[in-house]
Symmetry: C2
Subunit: 301 residues, 2 copies
């Protein structure tokens, strides 16, 4: 990480490019080749996985693994699996029957680049391959089984899918704090929390370390979603690589809609501080996780 | 199983109702309650899981587990997980962008009873909960991890999803034996094979037993799909509980379309005989698996 200025969060973030490259290299190896039939399915899976995602979740997993003394290689299966699940959720969310979005990361969304049937199946295959990667690439079956448990709970009805359903149901409804918190904690929070916990599990974390990581992850997950809500209101479509202001247009329940911009920024910063405080028991190895929490919130202001 | 006539396959099949009840009771416990929010998601999941399915895959898992000396309880997590995956695949296959079917098992299909977005999410949640059930309910992590591997491979790009993609691509194309075999082996064959193998794994099968079960499963899976193709051509919609003759109308590539009705019946019977022969090393405990192979083929003639 040459010339990393300690007060420059962007430099810290760019300095994580080595992790991104390692994650991409593993995804390249663990996903089906585009030349293998049915080619169209595998092309559609790769189209969205290699669309220039920021790899926030894999980076969280790797940094959490490092924070408890694990090597990057140990974190890779969980990191890549969770990125596959995140990607599948974007593909399905963009479908006409769901959020109906034609663009994602500056390119046509999956069902526009391919077609609806292919997009549904590519999403299904990415969700499934996540569990294949964890169970096949993690060398300790006991840890693999625990990671499958965490990831499945975070991705399914008790997590991400439940949050997306609640989000769809809340569209057009009057703003309501309980519903908003349910959506945020489930739709994005659960998988971000799983990224951190599974990185820790892969690195051999002891229970008190997992507790510390769990608190950090819960706060970072909420802060991340508030930052995302703020960006949707304040950034341009060009900056986002997707349609901006869409939440407002669809009357989505968001943090700024309920509490206003300034109170939302304050809450995001408060959550980041709480996340950083939770890392105390982990010592200096956890410093990059603290920087990441700062970076995530800095996106919003 | 009172009054079970040895030469009456229907009585044998009905005699498996105890297994069906046990599977339903476990699914009832392991799926989210319909009263728990987001209720609509959980209602949609349960609507399709408890729609009167024949539970062929769970029964295969339980009988394979028994064949190697395991208790029914050991087989239940894999059995229920695979039924959840089978159900999700039906929900997604029925979507307008896929096979566009308004009826399933004599009732409105999931997206007609609810809506498209809910059906997509209910499918996603059922796929995910399958891995939750395996990793949480199997008491040996090493076996759980292996079962996750088998199920993920059978359900994903290298199995069921790949087969469904190939099936969609082949619609309207000239009949071609290689494509047909690819579709059958992947779309239905892989998950049926996984049912048998995972039942065996849960029951503690040794490698030679798994090899025997694998051959049995491959043959039964193909026979099952040929029987299904035949039923679509020869049965009425009322008998099927779904639209009959749909494959032909959609110019789907089927066994009867390629080889004719009589040759298809002969091949299904040959495969059942090969399946039964493969069970020899397992001894008398495997007799019910043999009966099941006979029953599956008898559906076609």
């Amino acid at each position: 990480m040459p010339n990393a200025a300690p007060d420059n969060l962007t430099t810290f973030w760019d300095g994580l490019d080595g992790v991104r490259r390692a994650v991409n290299e593993r995804l390249e190896a663990w996903l089906p080749q585009a030349t293998q039939p049915p080619c169209r399915l595998h092309q559609a899976m790769r189209y969205s996985v290699f669309a220039g995602g920021k790899r926030v979740r894999p980076i969280l997993a790797v940094l959490a693994c490092r924070a408890v003394g694990g090597t990057d290689a140990r974190a890779m299966p969980a990191a890549c699996a969770i990125e596959c699940i995140h990607t599948y959720s974007l593909i399905h969310d963009d479908l006409p029957a769901m959020d109906d979005d034609d663009f994602r990361r500056g390119r046509p969304s999956n069902h526009k680049a391919f077609d609806e049937a292919t997009a549904i199946l590519a999403g299904d295959a990415l969700l499934t391959v996540a569990f294949d990667i964890i169970s096949r690439q993690m060398d300790k079956p006991g840890v693999a089984s625990r990671v499958v448990q965490e990831v499945a709970a975070a991705a399914g009805w008790a997590g991400m899918v439940g949050g997306q359903m609640a989000d769809l149901e809340a569209e057009g409804a009057d703003p309501d704090a309980d519903t908003l918190h349910f959506i945020h904690a489930h739709k994005t929070g659960a998988l971000i929390r799983a990224s951190v916990l599974c990185g820790g599990l892969a690195g051999g974390a002891a229970e008190p370390q997992l507790t510390a990581l769990g608190t950090y992850a819960r706060c970072v997950g909420l802060a991340f979603q508030i930052a995302d809500d703020l960006l949707d209101e304040t950034a341009t479509s060009e900056q986002l690589g997707k349609t901006a202001g869409k939440d407002k247009a669809a009357k989505k329940l968001t943090y700024p809609a309920l509490y206003g911009l300034e109170a939302s920024r304050t809450e995001a910063r408060r959550l980041a501080a709480e996340a950083i405080g939770a890392l105390d028991p982990l010592g200096p190895e956890a410093a990059p996780l603290a920087r990441l929490a700062e970076f995530i919130v800095s996106r919003s202001s």
